[in-house]
């Protein structure tokens, strides 16, 4: 029985010119967004890889220099785009792409696409995620708003019921039929994404990306199911198609536009983030209380020197087998790094709290459940950004400390000497490995459970309401 009703809905939908027109439009947008996104991804990835190669070469081919000069010369870490980020750019447009790695300072990631783009970026980008999250639900609304109202208005609902079908069976049949129609619109775009992905990826990385893409598709299937069930239930509970359409469009507006804005504003209100200027000022003030490696009159420096003299049982700095400056630099770096880490961690905690509020909103709004899930699965969310930030900082810290170690081993009077050019070629360049999907999943459990709750809750409650709907 369900199959017959589903088949009827599917065939009727395919023969409805209005739906076919709208579907072709959405499918066209999806395919265009996939292709354009993939192209943009490839170009950006190439640019960043080339830039990373250039700075690595420049670093490795420095002339003979003092190690601390090299530490200040520094390097850059470019964030590679996630292989699936062409489907959902997430926060990538607003977070930076490159971080300058230098001594004494933990810089933030800069040069975001939004910084370099015009003001039009405020209107959003046409991405696969945008089409899937906002436009496909609109298509579903136009497909389903008259699911029951039309049957009621034309009398076919009574005909179906008189044949022995129940309201619940009719509703499930419709949900299944509409799901098939939506799959026909969305499927080709995800198929194209998979083809593009596997045509160019390495097998090892391909497995992880394939798993991410599979879960991405599963997440959106659940999201569309929720929208379809919701639209069918509203159609069943409304007497007229027009009122069902108005109500559904209102829900779309509330879910896709108003609630996310309110949540973002509430997050910023309850958990205000420190501004960059404030952060810089606070970090500067705190590092001033630590060791200043460049100040020979710093009290901490005198204490370190005295300790070294005691340790090596010598009377003067000249007799030490190590460079006091190198050790002071290493201590100073460790201190300033701790200060930076503490402040960045506090800032990240604030952002995480803001994001957590948005995640909780997923229990009220399926759009806000699929959004973090989508970003997290493609690797363009805040957690993946922080992962890169921390990897870049870990590299910066070990690079600077390695250079400080080289300086330390140069002994007294190191400032007057240089290390050979070959030294820098022995230092491994920054190589970032994005985390696997298993790393990302625990953080995505909340939105995934919220979406699952929507699927189960709406199916149960909605279908109960449909069952009790009077003719």
């Amino acid at each position: 029985m369900l199959t017959s009703i589903a088949q009827k809905e599917f065939i009727s939908t395919l023969r409805d010119r209005r739906f076919v027109g709208l579907s072709l439009l959405v499918l066209g947008l999806l395919l265009a967004a996939t292709l354009v996104g993939r192209r943009g991804y490839a170009a950006l990835q190439q640019e960043r890889a080339a830039a990373q190669h250039t700075v690595n070469e420049q670093f490795a081919h420095q002339p003979g220099r003092h190690p601390h000069r090299v530490a200040h010369y520094g390097s850059f870490a470019f964030r590679p785009k996630s292989g699936l980020s062409f489907l959902d750019v997430g926060i990538d447009s607003f977070t930076g792409a490159a971080v300058y790695l230098e001594a004494h300072q933990q810089n933030s990631v800069n040069f975001s696409p939004a910084q370099q783009a015009g003001s039009l970026i405020r209107f959003g980008e046409l991405t696969v995620a945008f089409v899937l999250q906002a436009l496909v639900p609109l298509l579903i609304i136009f497909l389903c708003f008259s699911a029951f109202t039309e049957e009621r208005e034309t009398g076919t609902l009574r005909l179906l019921l008189s044949q022995g079908a129940t309201m619940r069976q009719i509703a499930w049949g419709k949900i299944r039929g509409y799901s098939q129609a939506v799959a026909l619109v969305v499927g080709p775009a995800l198929g194209l994404a998979a083809a593009l992905l596997f045509a160019a990826g390495s097998p090892a990385r391909g497995l992880d990306l394939g798993l991410r893409l599979g879960l991405f598709g599963l997440g959106y299937a659940a999201y569309f199911f929720v929208v379809i069930v919701g639209a069918v239930v509203v159609s069943a509970r409304q007497q007229h198609a027009r009122s069902a359409l108005v109500l559904l469009l209102g829900c779309w507006m509330l879910g896709c536009v108003i609630l996310p804005k309110i949540t973002a504003n509430l997050g910023a209100h309850f958990y205000p983030a420190t501004t960059k200027a404030q952060l810089d000022a606070e970090v500067h003030a705190e590092t001033q209380r630590g060791i200043d490696g460049h100040n020979p009159h710093d009290a901490h420096v005198a204490a370190i020197t005295a300790a070294l003299l005691r340790k090596y049982h010598v009377a003067s700095e000249k007799e030490l087998p190590v460079s006091v400056n190198g050790i002071v630099m290493a201590e100073g770096e460790a201190y300033s790094s701790r200060v930076y880490q503490a402040h960045f961690a506090a800032l990240n905690r604030t952002y995480a709290r803001q994001n957590a509020l948005a995640d909780w909103a997923g229990w009220l709004n399926p759009y806000q459940a699929i959004r973090p899930l989508s970003m997290g699965l493609v690797g363009s969310d805040f957690a993946h950004y922080v992962h890169f930030q921390q990897a870049a900082e870990a590299y910066r810290y070990q690079l600077v400390q390695r250079l400080n170690g080289l300086q330390t081993r140069m002994g007294y009077g190191d400032k007057e000497r240089r290390l050979g050019a070959a030294t820098w070629q022995n230092i491994a360049p920054f190589a970032y490995q994005a985390p696997p999907v298993g790393w990302a999943l625990p953080a995505l459990l909340g939105p995934a459970l919220a979406l699952l709750a929507w699927v189960i809750g709406l199916s149960w409650l909605g279908l109960k309401l449909v069952e009790r709907t009077p003719l």
Binding site: D16, R158, G164
Partner: protein
């Protein structure tokens, strides 16, 4: 005697109106009962009660001995319903519509069998694979009749089936009802059409303000007498 359709003191009270005032009625297999009455007399309410779409305030409706209210789903296998305007699904063909309706009733037919049923109902072969959106009302009625036959319904509930049909289509429809009646199907038809009621009915009932005020065998009076009787009750 066992009745295929029966109403015992059937009563329906809406918040603002007493729609049916204790209806008592029995139909035997093969009988064609035509219920005449003005709009709002309670004809459609009676059909809805037999279909189980609404619950009676008092009394009970029975189909094949089963009380409708407590067997709303089971009784559907015995009856077929054809509303005043059978719209069906305009994007599906006649064959597809019949296939859908039959499968909902639990019957899966091959295309040749579906064509046979539609042919029996008088639908031209060339129209069967055409979308129903291009059908006339008479053609849609024929698909409705075909679905009743394909379902092997023992009771046919018809709500103003001939309204809006041209005389030729009405005649064809009457002929189909006679055939079904001859095969043992009981027909309960709510109508305004006195001529058609006299022509196909075995009994005719007149309903006024929710009350069945008169029931006569159609053989007991001619069309003019039936019209006079009807007009007398409607005054």
């Amino acid at each position: 005697m066992s009745y295929i359709l029966e109403a015992k003191d059937l009563r329906k009270q809406y918040p603002d109106k007493l729609a049916l005032k204790g209806l008592n009625l029995q139909l035997a297999p093969g009988e064609v009962f035509c219920l005449l009455g003005q709009n709002g007399a309670g004809k459609s309410t009676t059909i809805n009660l037999f279909l189980g779409f609404i619950e009676p305030t008092a009394g009970a409706a029975f189909i094949n001995g089963l009380e409708v209210a407590s067997n709303a789903l089971k009784i559907k296998q015995y009856l077929a319903y054809i509303p005043e305007n059978v719209l069906l699904y305009p994007h599906l063909t006649g064959l597809e519509n019949l296939s859908l309706l039959s499968s909902l009733a639990g019957f899966k037919y091959r295309e040749s069998e579906l064509r046979d049923y539609l042919g029996q109902a008088g639908l031209p072969a060339e129209a069967m694979a055409r979308r129903v959106g291009t059908y006339s009302k008479g053609m849609r009625q024929k698909v409705g009749i075909a679905s009743a036959v394909a379902k092997h319904a023992q009771v046919l509930l018809l709500d103003e089936p001939t309204s809006g049909l041209d005389p030729k289509a009405s005649n064809e429809f009457s002929e189909l009802l006679r055939q079904l009646s001859g095969q043992g199907t009981a027909v309960f038809m709510a109508t305004h059409d006195i001529f058609r009621a006299k022509e196909v009915g075995t009994r005719v009932g007149i309903m006024r303000e929710g009350e069945l005020v008169d029931v006569r065998p159609t053989t007991a009076l001619n069309t003019n007498e039936l019209e006079q009787l009807y007009l007398t009750y409607m005054q």
